[in-house]
Symmetry: D2
């Protein structure tokens, strides 16, 4: 039974970690670190925990002190130093930020200079369904971005099977709920401004999750279905158009690509089913998926449609950005890294309505 | 380990029961009855269970056959015959409909002639916080209505303590989410008609949950904090104004009453705290509550405010109409009736955001 | 054709004024003042006006310079000095803030010391349906608060007719959309925090619109249907419970009161119809009203229900808080003050869906 | 001053027509036909018109009798016979359904056999910005589908200029509000099922608006910027993925295509600006557009983004599906056909928030 720290426990990623880790049988003591709420009862930040969870936030340093495992739900840029500190103190780390997801060169392109590039050698990219074989024993798990998770899962089966035509750039459109932007207020997400609204954002190569998607698909094209974070690959170029929609939770990725000749609806769906056959947290189905079907869940639902008219196919994935897209996937990676049963403390079903 | 049947398993109450009973350690086999979905996979009705819950709906009769316990999440009017059949077969019953909640005379006033009034003698009203002492061993638990739960809990402490001035009728305004209306479509709840909308409905004595509220408060005035379903009482008149608001889940009851002389903010909040001191599923707090704080939870959050200017007080309760207002409360009553720990399989915390 | 200035033209009240005044046939030149947007195109603040309204914001001082009429959609507290400046320069003023609505003593109780109490002598309270006779020629029109408008209109007919029992405090519950809080962000109205949420706020005498409601109803009790802002009256005490609900626009007031003996459903509805018989912007109907029916409109819809069981009645009013509750009512008052036809440039119908 | 009939006046398209035609200076008498509401006051169907519009629905036959112009807001399949009847009676027709939009062969492929193919010779496709030159004098205007309007406008500038690479199929993703599905209830749009939800539908060549999009773009490729409904062309293949999102109103089309070599961000935006330079109802802007910016408006907002990494560009268009996507565009076409100023009675600005 280990001491587990969560930093950024007052954010949405943190709330999901509290839920899952507080009931995780292998977590001994849970420490909730928050710079802004240190010393305050957990219920001050989380009204839904009033009377249920009686703990108090501590400072990040207090949370780290003596921790065996550290979950970092802190902003990108600010997280790499915490990784370094925690690793230096001998703790294993699950990093929900972007700071451990990319190699130093790619990180520089999208986020700026990485302050501790040496720490990245231990990182394993935590998209469990793709990196399952290298996660056991991992010292540093880099939980993927929410948009990247959805888009990568949609195309992974086809990239891994070499079924995507190289002469057509896949087009991924993502519909993203608002909680992905975090808990800090912004004029664009003020309720009267965003209710009954939707808008594209960071399109045409402007969204940083693109780096992860292109890396994952590039690795899959080079390495098949069992990916290695540090083996060589070439990014697979993708057109990526995120759209913010008036949901609290949920991501729907629609990725249109050109399959190699000879594919049809049945074969494409078969490839997807085979790819995720042993993955409990990805369910492949015939029906086009509802975002609501994964609200509150840590699973992804996926399907594909082939358009005979154009010869293009579109793969669809829905996830809860705070479930499979954040805390759920982080705990899934934690379970793999530590050899716990993969679905321990995860949310399998969501809730309807 | 018992055989448990759920009738109406394709409705919202049914979905909540599937969630809670499928993980309940004292439930051996779970049978899901649905007239319209009999023979179909559960995922046909519930997309969130695709790949998680592999069962198939059966007919109501198949579900009842040999069941030890029957949960009825079927419409009022249609449920009393199922109660009768199940009881005749020796099963104990948790009835989520209105059909077991009222005595035959009151039922006649609000719903029409009860087809099996003799069955009502075994009924125990399942507002656990008020009827806790008579629920153990109950053969028929009548789970309260969602609006009635919220409004009754708000005023229960004051009615039980004799602190409500008799010359002022309490005014209960309820804001109710749309899932309380059930899964059947209606023009009034068509998305384009009800998004960005709100409306009062069944006001001025028109809502049938009023009968339950007035009974519970009348019992509390006569019996204090430990209520008996069948002991004599006089209904306590209430003005009840329900309003439909654009939420999927949630009820917020605001009940304004005149406390007897000598009360103030501190004493009224103290009375409420004392009243629910031993109730795990009701949390009394200083802060005005958010509906979101109980979304997905089986708890109620409550507080009270005294207005010195007018001498009136307003008690506030929030619940998830599908949690504490339906499946959660039904399972809570089931736990009491069978002697299981009260919170077994209940949702203590909700989710945020 | 006059020069009209709007201050606070970058807020929601301002947007409504731009819409109505830019098409008002009696408005010659329209100047839009905004401290934060001065020098910027109107479309920078208002994306819906891009390509339609080609003007540029000016500073408040520039807007005021030489203006014949000034609309003030600036925050309470900050507005009284603008009133003073504009009046000193000879302009007539329509004040949408709270700063001209109350006498100096009442203002002190709720908002603090008024900086220019001498200016209040010219103020006329702009609830047109109640103050119709004193608005023509008004030099300073104080547009009422949105919640106050809805609650006051609901009870006005009965207070004016002396039909409210004095021994029962009326209970007004208001459901209020989020745009009433203005355009500035707040954690409580961050989309992920407030979608699928509702909460009471400033209850039990805590909401400052209460002062207006009690003044209007007190005046009506003393003066009948033609109210004078400065004639003596005693405030009529009201219990007021506002609730924030997940709407962009809309207010629904439900006000429960005890009518004097001898009233019934027909007589109470008749009193309401008679009271507003000549008011184009208030429509009395049999049906319980939908908030959506006034979205985008400057009208109020109203009805009443009598509950024979309790002897209480509940009056209902719906308005668009940005229409009849803000810019619409301000322009209606402007029309009255200047002798233009009352509905000039107002939105009579809303939009559905 | 002419007699104008609206059939299907109880649907959402009908409500928009009532709003615009009731204030249209060239409309003499307006007759509202509705099979289901004939004989009932307009307010029975439209609560927002209670007290504003005092008319009564008539039967479709009564509405048609002696009408000079007939607007058909009736379902596809059921509308062609009304077109025939109205045309036989000498009326000119604005058809909002799909029944006059396609040639008989294409109609057969997507909708089935057309009952009156001979009537189609008079049809002019009412996408005003593309068919402006052939609409004056038109006897039968076929108002385009809402999704088709958004997607066609996005790519029209590039198809007309011959700037779309022929070897890459453009991928159009559409986010569509729920009112596009009409006023009839459906389980999928029951409020508790669709709030906090989103889903793809009719993807991979399954949506019938695709026929219109491919026709318009094919015509533009062949004919440039001034299109003729009946001149020869080859459809331009498009991949079309519609997604239903939890909006009442609004469509956002994101269309990704490969521009011919030599284009960049500035040139592509310049092409779009030039294309719509003289179109009052399409506004090209630098900023990515908000759906809310056109809610309640009859305009489209458009922009484009070039992605140097992939060489692909994405064109964005937002419209109100009930404005530019339905009633607004129908009235725009009516104005062109009859020689009235193009924007007569149209909604130029929307409303914010």
């Amino acid at each position: 039974m280990s001491v587990v720290a969560v930093l950024g426990a007052n954010g949405y990623g943190g709330a999901g970690l509290i839920r899952r880790l507080s009931r995780h049988p292998e977590v001994g003591r849970l420490r909730l670190g928050s710079r802004s709420y240190a010393g305050h009862p957990v219920a001050d930040a989380w009204p839904h925990l009033a009377g249920v969870y009686d703990g108090t936030f501590v400072t990040p340093d207090e949370a780290l002190d003596g921790a065996d495992v550290v979950f970092l739900a802190t902003p990108h840029g600010a997280t790499a130093p915490w990784v370094h500190t925690a690793r230096a103190a001998g703790a294993r780390v699950i990093d929900l930020s972007a700071d451990s997801r990319l190699d130093a060169d790619t990180y520089r392109t999208w986020y700026g200079e990485h302050p501790h590039p040496g720490d990245l050698a231990d990182a394993r990219y935590g998209l469990v369904e793709a990196h399952r074989d290298e996660l056991p024993g991992a010292l540093l798990v880099a939980a993927p971005g929410c948009n990247a998770t959805a888009a990568s899962l949609a195309l992974l089966p086809y990239a891994a099977a070499g079924l995507m035509s190289a002469d057509t750039v896949p087009v991924c459109t993502v519909l993203a709920g608002t909680s992905g932007a975090g808990r800090a207020t912004s004029p664009a997400l003020h309720f009267p401004e965003f209710a009954e609204n939707a808008r594209p954002y960071k399109v045409a190569g402007g969204h940083r999750h693109l780096a992860e998607i292109e890396a994952t698909l590039g690795r899959a094209a080079a390495q098949g279905r069992s990916l290695s974070t540090h083996a060589p690959y070439r990014p697979l170029p993708v057109s990526f158009s995120p759209h913010l929609v008036p949901l609290v939770r949920g991501i729907l990725a629609s990725c249109t690509f050109r399959p190699r000749d000879g594919q049809d609806q049945a074969s494409l769906l078969g490839v997807m089913r085979d790819a995720f056959e042993h993955d409990r947290m990805v369910h492949v189905q015939d029906e086009l998926p509802d975002v609501k079907a994964v609200t509150g869940s840590d699973r992804a639902l996926a399907t594909v449609r082939f358009d005979r008219r154009t010869g293009l196919a579109t793969a669809f994935v829905v996830i809860d950005n705070l479930g499979k897209g954040a805390a759920g996937q982080a705990v899934q990676g934690f379970n793999l890294a530590f050899g716990f049963p993969e679905t321990t403390s995860l949310e399998l079903e969501g809730r309807w309505p």
